[in-house]
C-alpha cells in the first residue's frame, strides 16, 4: 500500500501540557500520601490538610490550568478564593485567632484588584465579569452575616461590606441591561 503524502510535513503539535500533567501527577500524589502518612505517624495537629490544600492549589493554578474561561479576572479571583480557604484552614488547624481579621483584608484586596481589572477594560471584560460579581455577592452576604449575626465589629469586615456593595451596585448601574443579561446567562439551568 503506497501512501501519497498530502499533509504538511515535519510538524505536529505535541500535547505538551497533557504530557507534563501525566508525569507531574506522580510526585504530587507521592507528596500528598507522604504528608498524610507522616502526619498520622507523628500525630499532633492536622497540618497535612493545609499541605494537601496547598498542593491542590499548585496543581490547579500552575499545572492543570482552566480549559474554559482563562482570563485575568477569573484567574485572579480563583487564586484569591483558594488563598482565603488556605488562610482559614491554617487558622482552624494550626494557629488560631487571626483569620477573622486577615481573611476580610485579603478578600477586599481581591475585590479592589478585580474591580481595577474590570473597569480598566470594561468593554472586553464585561464578558468575564461574573466571577467578580459572584465574589462580591458572597462577600457582601458574608460580611452582613459577620456583622449582624456573629457581631464581629471589625474594620476589615466593614470595608469588605462597603466595597462589595459599591462594586455590585456600580456594575448594576453602569451595565444596566447587560448586567441582568449576564446574570441570566450565568445562572441558566436549561
Amino acid at each position: 500500500m503506497r501512501i501519497e503524502i498530502t499533509y504538511p510535513k515535519g510538524k505536529n503539535r505535541q500535547n505538551g501540557r497533557g504530557e507534563m500533567l501525566r508525569w507531574m501527577r506522580y510526585p504530587f500524589i507521592l507528596a500528598a500520601m507522604a504528608c498524610i502518612i507522616v502526619n498520622v505517624a507523628t500525630k499532633g495537629k492536622l497540618w497535612s490538610v493545609v499541605v494537601l490544600w496547598s498542593l491542590f492549589m499548585a496543581w490547579r493554578d500552575i499545572f492543570s490550568i482552566d480549559l474554559v474561561e482563562f482570563n485575568r479576572i477569573s484567574q485572579f479571583i480563583k487564586v484569591g478564593e483558594q488563598t482565603c480557604i488556605l488562610l482559614v484552614l491554617i487558622d482552624l488547624l494550626l494557629a488560631p485567632g487571626w483569620a477573622q481579621t486577615v481573611v476580610p483584608i485579603v478578600c477586599f484586596g481581591i475585590l479592589i484588584v478585580a474591580g481595577v481589572l474590570f473597569f480598566s477594560d470594561m468593554e472586553k471584560q464585561k464578558h468575564n465579569m461574573m466571577p467578580m460579581v459572584f465574589l462580591s455577592f458572597v462577600s457582601l452576604v458574608l460580611s452582613l452575616c459577620l456583622i449582624f449575626v456573629w457581631k464581629w465589629y471589625q474594620w476589615p469586615v466593614y470595608v469588605m461590606a462597603s466595597l462589595s456593595f459599591v462594586l455590585l451596585s456600580s456594575c448594576i448601574v453602569i451595565l444596566g441591561k447587560d448586567f441582568s443579561r449576564s446574570l441570566k446567562k450565568y445562572f441558566h439551568a436549561r
Binding site: M1, R2, I3, E4, I5, T6, Y7, P8, K9, G10, K11, N12, R13, Q14, N15, R17, G18, E19, L21, S64, I65, D66, L67, V68, E69, F70, N71, E123, K124, Q125, H127, N128, F134, D178, R181, K185, Y186, F187, H188, A189, R190
Partner: protein
Amino acid sequence: MQKGLSETDRSALDAYLVNYKRHVLLSRQDNALLLTDTENAIVSLIEKGVPLTEALSRLDADNLGGFYARPAIVWYPLDDAAKIYPLSMKHGQMALFRLSVCLKEDVDPSLLQMALTFTIKRFPFFATTVKKGFFWHYLDSSKRRFNIEPEQCLPCQPMTISRSGSPSFRVLFYKNRISVEFFHILTDGTGGMAFLKTLVSEYLRISGVSCSYEGDMIDPNGTPTEDELSNQFPKTEHKGKASGFMGKAALQLGGRLSRTRPCRVIQFQMDAEQLKEAAKAHQATITSYMLSKLFLACRQASDETDGFFNIQIPVNMRKFYPSRTMRNFAMYCGIQISAEKIDDNADLIGEIKTQMEAKTSKEKMSEMVRSTEHIVSGVRYVPLFIKKPIAGIIYGFLGDKAFTTTLSNLGVITFPDALAGHIQSMDFVLGTAVVNRANCSLVTFGNTSTLSIEKLTADPSFEESLYALLEKDGITVHVEGSELYAN
C-alpha cells in the same frame, strides 16, 4: 493603495471605504486587521487582472451586514448532546472533527479570509466563545475578526478555547485544501458541512465564479432562522422508555497507543460507483458494507479473540425529525459482533444489517434522546464545580472503551454545478478518541468516496487489511495521508 489609480477608481475606492467604515465598529485592533484583510483581497484580485470596480463589487461592504457593527449580546445554552463536551475535555483531548474541500486550484489566503469574514455573520452560533455558568457552560457571542490559519499540523489538534473571545472552530488552508475544524460543542457533521459549503461558495464567488443558492446551499447574506439555532432534542417524541448508554468494554485494535495524537491520517479515495456496486452485490447499504470490512480489518488487527468488537455509528436525528438546525442533533449506536463470528461470509453482513435496522430505528434513537434528557435534567441544578470533576471521573472510566472504532458516514455531498466544477474532492476526519486506535469517517463527493482513518497507533495492520479487503472486492483505492509521527 490609492497611488496610480485613475480618478474614477479613486472615487470608487473612497466610496467603498466610506461604506466599509459604516459596517465595522469593532475594537481598534480588530478594525485594523479587517481593513488590512480587505486591502490584501483587493490587491490580490487586481493582481489577477480583475478591474478595481469589479474587485470592490465582489468585496462589497454590504456583505458584512450588521454583524460587525452590533455589540455582542446574544448567548446560547448548549444543546443536550453538547453539554458533555466541555465537561469531559482534558488537556490535549477534545472532541473535534474536520471537514475539508480540495479545490482544483491552490487557495488564495487573502480571498479565503474575506470569505470567512462574510460567511461567519450567517452563522452567529459559531461566532461564539465557551463560557462557564454556575450550572452549565454556555456559548457567549463574540464580535471580532475570525482569522484563517495555514495548516501546519495533523488534523484535529486540540484548540485553545479558554481566552476571551476565542472561537471553537478554526479555518485552515493548505495548497488547494480548505478545512474547517469544529469543537463538537458547536455543531455536528451536518451543521459543519453547511458552514463549509457556504464558506467555499463565498470563496468561489469572490474568486469570480457566479453561484446560485439553490437546494441546501445557504445564502451568506440571508438571515439565520430560529430553526437553525434551536436545540432540537426537546422537540423529539417523549414517550417510551429511556435507555441506550451503558455498555461493556469492547476489544481494541492491537498496537501501542502513540503519544502524538493522532500519529497518522490515512485517506482511501475510492470510486463511488465501484463501492456502490460492491455493496449492491452483498445486498447491503454502503454503511453496512463498509462496516463488514471494518469488522474484518479489526479482527485481523487484533490479537484478542475473547470478546466482541463494537463499532460506533453516529445517527443523524434529522432523518427522523426533519430540521435545519446547525447544532448537534445526532445520537449513536454500537454494532456489536463477537470476535469468533467474524469471518468473510454473508452471515456477517446479514448480522450487521439486522443490528443496523434494530439499533438505528427511530424508537431506539428516541430512547437514547430520552436517556440524555433524563441525565441532563437530573443534574440540572448541580453546580458546575461539582459536575465537572464527577463527569471527568465517569468519562475517564467509561471513555470510549465500549467501542473498538467509529464509522461516521456523512453521505453524498452535492454542490450546484457551477461550484462543483471547481471542486476536486472532499474529506471528513474525526478527532482521536482515548483508547480507540483508529477512527473512520466517510464522505462522498462526485464519484469519489473518501474514507479517512485517524490513527492512534503506529501499527499498520488495520489499514493494510482494510485496503486488501477493498481491493479484493474490485474497488480501486488511491491512498493519501500524512507522515507517521510515532513515539
